[in-house]
């Protein structure tokens, strides 16, 4: 019976969208955009000073979306840490009961670790020049740390430190945004820092700093998420007092 409802629902959904296909989704003509993207591209250099227009949009034009996105990650990290804190089965202890991933895996991981972190930091720092930015860079740094976790070299993460990094980075993001209130027309997230020379590393005002905050936050949050899912007992909550 459920399969029937599923089919029925999706049939209607598909019929409607297919009937819209020709009129709505005709390919845009080649050389000009009618959307809001066109004025943004033209004003990107002057308003944000960032060569990567997508980064300019993510951090400045639609900065509130990114604030919301960082909050989404923050909430789901809190939720996962909370729910995972009572998963008592010693997952990783049993996984590595007899062998801890072997010598090759461990040394290979240790060699790879600095390079991946380097790439991650590079992507975060060059968010306003080349593709990538706080989110993929942060994820890369977190993946580098997972190598230690997944090869069993580290069993528990320093949750106090991760917790500190995560919240300080969040407060840093809000602080940088609040700088905007100091500018001539005060509003949140205005890019008041000097925009520097276009297309060079030290350009685009506060965008690199905000992306650095986002990178730190994403890296520490994802490490908390994965480590609270792999460590045993109430790993998600620092011991000294109740989270």
């Amino acid at each position: 019976m459920r399969k029937l409802i599923g089919l029925l629902l999706l049939g209607a959904f598909a019929f409607y969208l297919v009937s819209l296909m020709p009129s709505v989704f005709s390919p845009q003509s080649r050389d000009h955009l009618e959307t809001v993207g066109k004025p943004i591209i033209e004003s990107a250099e002057q308003v944000s000073g960032s060569a990567n227009v997508v980064t300019a949009i993510v951090v400045q034009y639609r900065g509130l979306d990114t604030l919301g996105e960082v909050t989404v990650l923050f909430v789901s990290a809190l939720g996962v840490a909370l729910l995972a804190s009572s998963l008592k089965d010693r997952v990783f202890r049993s996984m590595f009961a007899d062998d801890d991933g072997g010598f090759i895996l461990q040394t290979g991981g240790r060699i790879l670790l600095p390079f991946i972190v380097l790439i991650g930091v590079y992507i975060v720092a060059h968010g306003h020049l080349s593709p990538g930015g706080g989110f993929p860079g942060g994820v890369l740094i977190a993946t580098a740390i997972f190598i230690l976790l997944l090869t069993g070299q580290v069993s528990a993460m320093p949750h106090g430190l991760l917790n500190l990094l995560e919240t300080l980075a969040g407060l840093g993001f809000i602080g940088l945004g609040a700088l905007g209130f100091m500018g001539d027309n005060p509003s949140f997230l205005t890019n008041v820092l000097p925009k520097g020379q276009f297309m060079t590393l030290f350009s685009a005002g506060f965008i690199p700093f905000i992306y650095a905050m986002v990178g730190i936050k994403v890296a520490s949050e994802l490490t908390t998420v994965v480590s609270s899912l792999t460590e045993e007992g109430d790993a998600g909550t620092p011991k000294e007092n109740h989270r």
């Binding site: 980064t55 993946t143 994965v226």
Partner: protein, 106 residues
């Protein structure tokens, strides 16, 4: 030229989506899902969206797969713990596979 690449990738994507949702074993479904997200980021490159491609590759295929594997491992090991009988690692794999397939048909 790009049309042919996009056409090929799209057909591949749809087949993978079908495979991911209707795969026989759960483990292969998760692997196909991470491959699907990798090919989606390839498609993003073809559509001149490198930012999105990096993020999709980093979050979609690398990170989501880690969490899926953890979920798979936990639901499988807990299954064995319920059965309560101590197993040495030799036939652990066999039982694990069987219990996964059981979980599908139940």
């Amino acid at each position: 030229m790009t049309l042919w690449i996009v056409l090929f990738l799209s057909i591949l994507l749809i087949l993978m989506a079908l495979a991911a949702v209707f795969a026989r074993s759960l483990a292969s479904a998760v692997i196909i899902l991470s491959a699907l997200s990798l090919f989606t980021s390839l498609l993003f490159i073809m559509v001149a969206a490198p930012d999105v491609a990096i993020t999709e590759a980093a979050i979609g295929s690398a990170l989501t797969t880690v969490i899926f594997v953890l979920a798979l491992y936990r639901t499988r090991t807990a299954d064995r713990a319920d059965s309560g009988s101590p197993k040495n690692s030799a036939d652990e794999g066999a039982l694990a596979l069987r219990s996964t397939s059981e979980a599908d048909h139940a």
